[in-house]
Structures are given as structure tokens and as C-alpha cells.
């Protein structure tokens, strides 16, 4: 790297991009791993049902499984597309 590269540091570096992508994908995979085995299939099934009525993409459906002391919680978050006015 020569001295003329010194001035062009405006874009995020590829290492930074790599880190952000990894954090997202690993967070998702850990949720699947720690939850019950049916979780990935459940997510796919829910997607399919909702898609019959509304056009959504995979990242609009968030299925989370949380282990509690007395009971476990399955949290389902679906962001619907913006309303047309």
C-alpha cells in the first residue's frame, strides 16, 4: 500500500463487511440450533401460509425460541409490507 492510498478510506473495508455478514448469519444459525428441531420447518410452513395472502420475503418473518425456567417461549414476528394509501 503506497502513500496515495491514504486518502481513499471512505467505504467500509471488506473485513468490516465480512464481520457484519457473519454476525447476522451466525445469530440466525444459533437460534435454530438452540431451539427445537422442528423450528426451521415451522418457519418454512408459516412462510408458506402467509404467502397465500400477502407477499413477504424470508427476512420479514422472525421466529425466535427462548428457553425459560418454567416454560419456553416461541416468538413469532411478521412484518407485513407497507400499506398503500
Amino acid at each position: 500500500m503506497g502513500w496515495f492510498n491514504y486518502f481513499k478510506q471512505s467505504n467500509p473495508t471488506s473485513a468490516k463487511v465480512a464481520k457484519e455478514r457473519l454476525q447476522i448469519v451466525i445469530a440466525h444459525e444459533r437460534i435454530d440450533r438452540n431451539g427445537p428441531e422442528y423450528l426451521p420447518q415451522l418457519r418454512r410452513d408459516i412462510m408458506e401460509v402467509i404467502r397465500k395472502y400477502v407477499a413477504i420475503t424470508e427476512d420479514q418473518v422472525n421466529v425466535q425460541f427462548e428457553k425459560g425456567s418454567d416454560y419456553d417461549v416461541l416468538e413469532l414476528n411478521i412484518a407485513l409490507p407497507e400499506r398503500e394509501h
Binding site: 500500500m1 503506497g2 502513500w3 468490516k16 465480512a18 457473519l22 451466525i26
Partner: protein, 268 residues
């Protein structure tokens, strides 16, 4: 009991066998009676890296199938005392490994007085990899500063926490992160994930950072584990890692870019 250590990663080509060879050699150099086992049934390679490929008579699967005794199959290392290699079978498939068979070999190694058993895991998450980690007390998770390797390491950590004998007993395998093929210059340039980034993502205690080094290829070319190359950066970094594993406090080295001269900085 002998302390059983698996060297694993998920992804292939990150340096598991190089690490297993260096680690086992380092332990033996310090006087510990050590066995290193190749779990990559069908794709044996530890023998080449250890330089004992021409002395293989019996293998791990022969021992499991009672076709040879353990002492017949163990190859005495020619570089250091106290070190023995148990090669993988080149002809069978990985289904030859069973928890019972592997467990019996581990018990026998203990009876023979081995202090450490190093299990060189195959890549992937299939049977060979499961068997390599199954009886582990410790796991060395080998990771390259690269997205697919880090992701696979996280996957392997999940398996260590759920599919091992210790996990099934409600205990845990001690996890250690070893970053290999690290290039401080590329990290400084923002082209490579830094050590801190990987630690933040995987959240496993760091046991060593091995720099990208020409000496690793030279070592495998000649069949002498790189830790024997005491002048090389990688050899020294592996030696530091072994010392840390044995409980010493050793500062990390080779993490900074080598200082360049003025002209190199300007035109380099």
C-alpha cells in the same frame, strides 16, 4: 485418565493436520507421552505430515476391528521421544469408526500410560468428525480469518456442546480457539478479519494465532512438523500455543505488521 484433545474445524484446509502434528510434537518435546490419531478414514494424511508414511503397517481401523493390537499399530515418531502416531485406514470407509471401538482404543491408550491423546478430525460434520470429538476433554478449534471458516467453526462449537460424551453427561468440553494463516498486514489493510473480530463472533478463549508462513509448506514437504523449525515464525507461534495449553502465560506474538523501511512505505 489420559487427556483427550480434538483438533477440529468443520471446514477443510484450515490447518487441522498441521496443527495436530505440531501440537502433539510440542507436547512430546516437553516430556509428555503423547499419541496422535488420524480420524480421517479413507483420506489418511497425518502420516505424511509427520513423516512416517513409509512405516505404516497397521491402522486405526485394524485396531478397532481387532485385526492388530494397539502397540502393533502405533508408529514411534522419529523426531521426538514419547510420541506415537496412529494412522487412519486408507481403504475403509468412515463407518468403520464406532463409539465403542474408539472408546476401547482410548481406554487402552490410557492403560499404556499416555498423558495426551490428540485426535486429528476430518473436515465436515459426518461420522469421522463426530468420532474424533466424542471423547474429547478439550477441543482446539482451528479457524482461518475468513467467513466460511468462522461460520463452520461456530457450527462445530454447537456440536461440541451437544453431541460429545461430556455434553451428554451434562459437562462441557473445554474450548480453545486457534487462528491460523493470519496475516497482520492484510488485517491492517482491512482485507482480513482481525483476531478481535473473530473472538467477538465466536466467543471462545483464544489459545494462539499462527501467522501465514512459508515454513508450513516447507515443513509438510519434508515431513517434519513445523514446530521443529524453531527459527520460523509459525514454528515459534505453535510452540507458544503448546505452552499456553499447558498452563503457561505467554504473550501473543506475530500480530503486528513488520516494520517497513521508509522507501518501502512510500513505494511498497
Amino acid at each position: 485418565m489420559s487427556r483427550i484433545v480434538v483438533v477440529t474445524s468443520g471446514k477443510g484446509g484450515v490447518g487441522k493436520t498441521t496443527t495436530s502434528a505440531a501440537f502433539a510434537t510440542g507436547l512430546a518435546m516437553r516430556g509428555y507421552k503423547t499419541a496422535v490419531i488420524d480420524f480421517d478414514v479413507g483420506l489418511r494424511n497425518l502420516d505424511l505430515i509427520m513423516g512416517c508414511e513409509r512405516r505404516v503397517v497397521y491402522d486405526f481401523v485394524n485396531v478397532i476391528n481387532n485385526e492388530a493390537s494397539l502397540s502393533q499399530a502405533l508408529i514411534r515418531d522419529k523426531h521426538v521421544e514419547n510420541l506415537h502416531v496412529l494412522p487412519a485406514s486408507q481403504t475403509r470407509d468412515k463407518d468403520a469408526l464406532t463409539p465403542e471401538g474408539v472408546g476401547r482404543v482410548m481406554d487402552e491408550l490410557h492403560e499404556l500410560g499416555f498423558d495426551f491423546v490428540v485426535c486429528d478430525s476430518p473436515a465436515g460434520i459426518e461420522r469421522g468428525a463426530h468420532m474424533a470429538m466424542y471423547y474429547a476433554d478439550d477441543a482446539i478449534v482451528v479457524t482461518n480469518p475468513e467467513v466460511s471458516s468462522v461460520r463452520d467453526s461456530d457450527r462445530i462449537l454447537g456440536l461440541l456442546q451437544s453431541k460429545t460424551y461430556r455434553a451428554k453427561q451434562g459437562e462441557s468440553v473445554r474450548e480453545h480457539l486457534l487462528i491460523t494463516r493470519y496475516s497482520p498486514a492484510r488485517v491492517a489493510a482491512g482485507e482480513m478479519l482481525g483476531m478481535e473480530d473473530i473472538l467477538e463472533i465466536l466467543a471462545v478463549p483464544l489459545i494462539g494465532v499462527i501467522p501465514e508462513s512459508q515454513s508450513v509448506l516447507q515443513a509438510s514437504n519434508s515431513g517434519a512438523p513445523v514446530i521443529l523449525d524453531k527459527v520460523s515464525d509459525a514454528g515459534q507461534a505453535y510452540d507458544d500455543f503448546v505452552r499456553r495449553f499447558l498452563g503457561e502465560t505467554v504473550p501473543h506474538r506475530f500480530l503486528e505488521v513488520e516494520k517497513k523501511g521508509f522507501f518501502k512505505k512510500l513505494f511498497g
